[in-house]
């Protein structure tokens, strides 16, 4: 405890002497080299990363169809409706969740639940309905059914989601916990679809769909360096989602989307009041909020 100053000085003197000897020996033993390259472990590496995608800001509408086996995916009601804005330059993204029971104007069909747009006019009409509600027309629309979604999550090796609530379901041994849950394709589908176990039903389900999107983004980003991973992921999207993009456009979009930083991924769910339109239980969306959040 009472280490005297002279002892410390002696210790320091010894260290300096050893260092001087090492340096002297190194200078004598190591020949001069005409190629200056530090050992690999000491090489400082600088890097640059950019993807050219036009436009820089784009809006993608993700739709999850609730088509049952034998029903057409593109002409069934949409269970999941997520409008995602992406800034490919800044790596920021915003997901706007729209409750499927939102009672809105469906262009050409009058007031109805927004998810009926798929039934009447497929993804294109769905995009128009969402566009009228939020004030943004999506640039791209992706639609998937149960089977396609499960296959896609499986193809990327499962995802991890951060659940706000704990709840049980037969597909998840031990149930879904608050916090991180590693999910296979079917478990991810249930996580994104279940609503009766959640306090705010449709609203919380929409938030879970956003957590699912974030889980997919995290999974793809953390594996993007693995040769062929992105290409296999894009192929899986082509095989399991309906999209209006060509394979080359989708490849470019995917490479741009990988640059979205999870810390810059913002989410919100369109709020509204629950009520009835005739006999149907609906959500009367907060239109003012919908126009504000874009």
């Amino acid at each position: 405890m009472n280490a005297t100053p002279w002892r410390r000085r002696l210790q320091l003197a010894r260290q300096v002497t050893v260092l001087a000897i090492v340096l002297a020996v190194t200078t004598l033993v190591v020949p001069p080299s005409t190629v200056r390259e530090a050992p690999a472990s000491l090489v400082k590496v600088e890097s640059a990363s950019e993807v050219d995608h036009q436009p820089h800001v784009l809006w993608i509408l993700f739709l999850g169809s609730d088509a049952r086996p034998g029903e057409p995916v593109l002409r069934s009601r949409a269970d999941a409706i997520q409008l995602v804005g992406v800034n490919t330059s800044s790596g920021a993204a915003t997901a706007i969740g729209i409750p499927r029971d939102s009672y809105v104007n469906v262009p050409g069909y009058g007031q109805n639940k927004i998810n009926s747009s798929m039934l009447y006019g497929g993804p294109q009409l769905m995009a128009r309905s969402v566009g009228e509600l939020v004030g943004i027309r999506p640039d791209y629309v992706f639609t998937t059914g149960f089977v396609g979604f499960i296959a896609m999550v499986k193809d990327i090796g499962g995802i991890t989601v951060n659940s706000k609530f704990s709840f049980t379901d037969a597909v998840m041994p031990g149930g879904y916990d608050v916090g991180k849950n590693k999910l296979n394709g079917l478990q991810a589908l249930i996580f994104a679809r279940i609503r009766t176990s959640l306090p705010r039903g449709d609203f919380d389900r929409s938030a879970n769909q956003q957590r699912t999107l974030l889980g997919i983004l995290n999974r793809v980003r953390s594996n993007a360096d693995r040769p062929g991973f992105v290409e296999r992921g894009v192929l899986s999207v082509l095989e399991n989602l309906d999209t209006n993009l060509s394979p080359a456009e989708l490849f470019r979009l995917a490479q741009a989307a990988i640059r979205i930083s999870p810390s810059k991924f913002r989410t919100c769910v369109l709020d509204g009041g629950v009520g009835y339109a005739g006999a149907a239980s609906v959500v009367f969306p907060d239109i003012a909020q919908a126009r504000r959040i874009r």
């Binding site: 390259e37 993807v51 050219d52 290409e231």
Partner: protein
């Protein structure tokens, strides 16, 4: 330059693979030449380095030219010698046709600097490519790292 297709998502015939290696190889080779290996050294003009890039990617690359070209050493370099040029391709090929490519690159070269000796530089990372509308391939993105080099002067262009 050694170019090999190592991953295919979808399917490509053997002849298509060879064709792809040749065409993508030509695009990347012309970038390597324009940005690092060719030109008259000492060199300060790297303005033509990104002719193999899309217009948008070239604009972004200009901002990163200190790293995506030999600009950091150009002024003090008398000659550049390539030591290794290796490219592995991961290909997206739905419907038996290549639509997108991630090229894993490794370029090692030595910049001879008369008084300062030589500097060995390693460029590695990924280049992202799609088909050009005419023919051939174009680079639309990059994620590239370079071993650090001493600063000897900036590129003027």
């Amino acid at each position: 330059m050694a170019v090999r297709v190592t991953q295919v998502a979808g399917s490509l015939a053997k002849s298509q693979r060879s064709n792809l290696e040749r065409k993508v190889g030509a695009t990347i080779s012309s970038y390597f030449d324009a940005a690092f290996l060719s030109g008259k050294y000492p060199r300060t003009d790297f303005s033509g380095a990104f002719a193999s890039f899309t217009r948008g990617a070239a604009r972004k690359a200009q901002r990163d030219r200190g790293l995506l070209t030999n600009a950091a050493l150009g002024r003090s370099t008398e000659a550049v010698t390539a030591k290794q040029k290796r490219v592995s391709l991961s290909v997206l090929a739905p419907k038996r046709s290549a639509a997108g490519v991630t090229a894993l690159i490794r370029l090692v070269y030595v910049a001879d600097q008369a008084e300062a000796g030589s500097t060995k530089v390693t460029i590695s990372g990924r280049l992202l490519l799609t088909r050009k509308q005419s023919s051939g391939w174009v680079i639309f993105g990059y994620d590239v790292a370079r071993s650090a080099v001493p600063r000897s002067g900036k590129a003027t262009r």
